[in-house]
Amino acid sequence: MTRYVVHRVGGMILVLFLVCLFTYMVFFLLSPDPAVQICGKNCTPERIDQIRENLGLDQPFLTQFLGFLGGLFTGREYGGGTSIIECPAPCLGYSFQTSQIVTDMLVQRLPVTAVVAIGAAVLWLTAGVIGGLVSAVREGRFADRFIAALTLGGMSIPNYVLALGLQYVFVVQLQWLPFPQAVPFADDPGQWFANFILPWTVLAIGYASSYTRLTRANVIDTLGENFVRTAKAKGLQPSLVWRRHALRPALTPVVTIAGMDFAGLLGGALITETVFGINGVGKLAADSITKNDQPVIMAVTLLAAFFVVVGNMVVDLLYSAIDPRVRAGAS
């Protein structure tokens, strides 16, 4: 097991390093000169050179990249002369457009995104597992077909179309929900909760649909297994057959995939947060794209990659702890 863990962690660090390098390279090669952007109007060539020097943009690629990597672990300083900006580790860069340290911007917004993500995950797991169980029990009957139709719809509707549609119906027309505005939880829990209902639903609906299908398929498979037949044959109560024998093997893969999907949620949060005006990491990314604030875009990309890679690893390790065959296959 130790060998397997070391192997996986090593692989994870390599992938993260490559993601860093690749992202940095793309921005280095493709993006317009940040010095020109920062300089803005009334710019002189001398001033651009000055900015380049302050930012270290006059250095070769490798030096810049190593500086960035070093900043991640030990922190670094930006600027020169009298205006030095301290950026403690983990330093993800400095946004010159907002004059803020990128790490601080992310840390401020992460809790909001966490609320969106956790709420959505609870919703889709509950809906997906219940929907899948109902479909499996009523296989081939009306309820099953009805749920199958719903899941197809849920998987096809693009989330921003759904977001705008729901907002139009429930906020503008019916006025059942208030217009979204930032309210701290402590001030008005009811309003806070009402704000998040639509974002949670929108983010959850696609996942809920695919989880319903997955649960259904797994439960039907498990119910056909010999050990379930044995349990039934020896006269166990149907409810005990379900609880002790059928559910656990059927739901383990669902929970595994949930871990990975949860880690990859930042991409979906981007659209949801933008449409509903929630001030999380996703909206930060969208705003930075509009403003072309590259250090922030890059930091969000790296953060998202970090979640995905770490999420996959945690899931793999948990899975290998449950199922020894995975370990054997990997080594």
Binding site: V15, L18, S31, P32, I157, V172, L266, L270, T301
Partner: protein, 291 residues
Amino acid sequence: MIMRDPAAVACLAYIALIVLMAVCAPLIVRISGWDPYEFDQSAIDPDLGGIPLTGGGRGWGGISGEHWLGVEPGSGRDIFARIVYGARASMLIALAATLLTTVLGVVFGLLAGYFGGRTDMVISRVMEFLMAFPALIFMIAVLSALPADDRQYLLVVVISVFGWPYLARLIRAQTMSLKQREFVEAARASGASRAQIVFVEILPNLRSTILVMVTMAVPGYIGTEAGLSFLGVGLVPPNPSWGQMIASSVSWYSVVPAYFLVPGTFLALLVLAFMVLGDRVRAAVDPGGLL
């Protein structure tokens, strides 16, 4: 077999309609009378911030005999023409991306699965790396850093680069089991070259997998293109695209819901049609549910 299923036939009909619209866009627009870039100031109300005129034979969102699906608020551009041309953009991008991912996925999947060893290791590592990448966020980042002209080619390339591993993984697994079968052994014994074995013996057996994956990939890419355009990093105005129409409807949708509803419905229905079709194709070619 598929043709006896009313849902599948309805989906095919809708897809055919959109494809026809995309192919004949210039012709259709000539019949409907407005091209997608033409401003019609007479269809909007300058006193109300440019919302489409209603009343006097004009319906919801400015829908009339002249403008079949209404006009865009603010500019008065014909929505029908923009939908028709937007279909062209969406379909072209989605189909080109599907083609490119399929070629890449099949080739690399076959290579990794058939040759194994070091080839397999390298290809599998690259696939793992690409699948660990936060594809959507990275696509947005790359596209935002690139110049906005010729975005459609970039969109296709970026979507495909992150898309092929999902197909290649399946192809690889199936190739690995197919190459153990007797008919491959027989071909090898009768002196077939490696290229012959891969393309003549193994590839035809992967047809149904590829068919299902392709039908499921198209709606995904249509959604991705629309999503990227919605976020402002896909096709840029004045080029019409459904996602970008939905994006620009955001600031109007409480006043002119039709402007959001029309492209939203077209897009959702198209994705749904492909999904249902993919589902039915899968049920037809793979009754055991292995894919």
